[in-house]
Subunit: 267 residues, 3 copies
């Protein structure tokens, strides 16, 4: 019997009933994140203002929060949306971009962590710092390999009862008990801005599809990204052609392609 | 004698004197909308702040307002700009993105409607809801076919003395008396985020070129979009390659190509 | 002995130690500017909020400020960041987009000029108006040739003890004493939105690499852009394909290609 939560079956399920995902993301990521979501088959809505973020979270299938271009006004909207998602029982995903860089970000992320994200997705430097370690991150860029962040990810997942995804050359996902590595992608991906932010939104789409299975949903989003990235990377001549090939590939992938090409190592 | 307001002749007139169009649009659309405007031959300026939006509207040829990523601060700038456009006798275009989704949006759009937009452009769900009907829209995505919104569009145009454009697989434009359908485009267009928002800006460019003919100007913008979309769609392999092919095609189209390929049905 | 500040050697030096550059830029430019920076080999961070802009400027190698989509809140962040950059001895670059268009912009730019930018980059209309002349700029678009702005650039550089770069068909850079013209680029570049804004960020990256040589750093950034633009323009079919080819080309250029193809005329 086929596992009903393989990445491919989850992609099919997601497309069969495109989830409305409220994406509160940064100004750099807005356009590419929405395009990634549409290519994958989800229904993104970028709604951030405090005046409506909570009301919108209640009608969405999931919420994603990325602090890339944070300000106080936006933080109020994020907080309101996360509270409403919790109240409505909707999953939400936290992307703590460069949270170690300033005191404003550190406080903001501490407050958001208290609102119980369902999933945290970050690069290695972000996850290490979030677990209390010393990262070598510079600005928004990770300078640590994913392997170094695996222990921090497990501790963080256990402490906050959440799924933690560390993305990089090889991704790592854990819920504090089980863990998986996802291989694939392309060396061109870090040269394209906001792909990680876009992946955060896609985790939200899969979490909306299977709110009962946040670990499998997160693995699925990362596996879909890794397969699409690997295929697009084979054809691309640089970061510019990678971007549009990635969207074309993502839109063209189906369940069979994902489940035959995804390289997931259960630990 | 050739009709002086065919889409092709209006495109030529627009390029001969590129209109400055103030586009108050959402964070997702900013970049692609500006690129669409430049490819078509217009001169877009994204100026939204209350501190200057009104002053800038007075020197622009037209104004477009899109509420996609609305907040109170931006609403103040939109209001100020629409009032200034009215005072200066400049046309302005309203794009009521997902106005049915939250009470904040509903109130904002009610206030903007009171400022007499020259043209309203939306998808079918938005136009149905704006006319008081029950739409099936989810977030920012329409779930209703354009055909179902035609009656609502006519009622809305009559009530507000405005041109109403409903865009989708086949577009519909009416001023409350006459109406046209525009065929063309590509099934890939809904997979590319913010193309509708970009089209709203382009309606502004044509309205600036012929402020005395808002119906013909709106039809022209939609026809140019439909021809470019159809041609780009023939070559594209997915939503990523569609985007840049659409811009290349739009920049390369001329009067003759538009007027020979546009499929406009006067009703 | 090879000049250690040729554009090619500066590019190699920049990539060997990718500088963290805080880019406060407009909503249109955010994504393409970050992608240009990554393709060139720099490490951009879009951090604008008053709550953290100053703290972040102190840890960055350089700061760039672009007023394209200005508002009061952002102006406060810009001011705070420029003050912190000055205090920390970091170079900063001003891009006075359409500063002549409204009184809000004029006042904002006057205040920013008082904070001693290391480099000012603008189009001809912006530089002419900044030096007190009458420009023909419309919205964000220059309507004046670069040649007409050269005298204004020299005066501006002398008055503010800064480097001034006027970009257009042929660029002009001066520190008030010496000056250079940089040829290259492509007629498609003005059809792609926010490439000038992206170039401002790239000037910041080179200035971070050689803060002791702001003139040579500015010339290097413009030369790299001109070479990449010229190569990409040869292959492109329009503004859409130009964009991604420009990023591919920029990522693929090396020291040798830059120094053999750059056309810099020392005046």
């Amino acid at each position: 019997m086929q596992d009903p939560t393989t990445p491919g079956t989850l992609l099919t399920a997601m497309r069969a009933n495109p989830p409305l995902v409220q994406c509160i993301t940064n100004f750099v990521a807005m356009n590419i994140a929405a395009n990634v979501m549409l290519a994958a088959g989800a229904s993104p809505a970028m709604v951030h203002a405090e005046e409506e973020a909570g009301e919108f979270a209640a009608i969405s299938g999931a919420l994603t929060i990325n602090i890339g271009t944070l300000s106080s006004g936006w933080l109020a909207g994020m907080t309101s949306a996360a509270q409403a998602a919790n109240k409505a029982g909707k999953p939400w995903v936290l992307d703590p971009v460069a949270h170690y860089a300033t005191s404003f970000r550190r406080k903001a992320v501490a407050g958001l962590l208290d609102l119980h994200p369902t999933v945290i997705r970050g690069n290695a430097s972000e996850i290490i710092a979030l677990a209390g370690g010393t990262s070598r991150g510079q600005g928004v860029d990770s300078r640590d390999p994913v392997e170094l962040a695996e222990e921090a990810a497990v501790l963080l997942a256990q402490k906050h009862h959440t799924v933690v995804a560390v993305t990089g050359a090889t991704d790592f996902v854990t819920d504090g008990n089980k863990a998986s590595r996802i291989e694939g992608g392309s060396p061109l991906m870090p040269q394209v801005t906001a792909l990680g932010c876009s992946l955060t939104c896609l985790v939200g789409a899969f979490a909306a599809t299977r709110p009962d299975q946040p670990f499998a949903a997160t693995v699925a989003a990362l596996a879909v990204f890794a397969v699409a990235g690997e295929q697009a990377g084979r054809e691309a001549d640089g970061p510019g052609s990678f971007s549009w090939r990635f969207l074309d590939t993502l839109a063209g992938l189906d369940e069979k392609a994902i489940d035959s090409e995804a390289r997931i190592i259960s630990l």
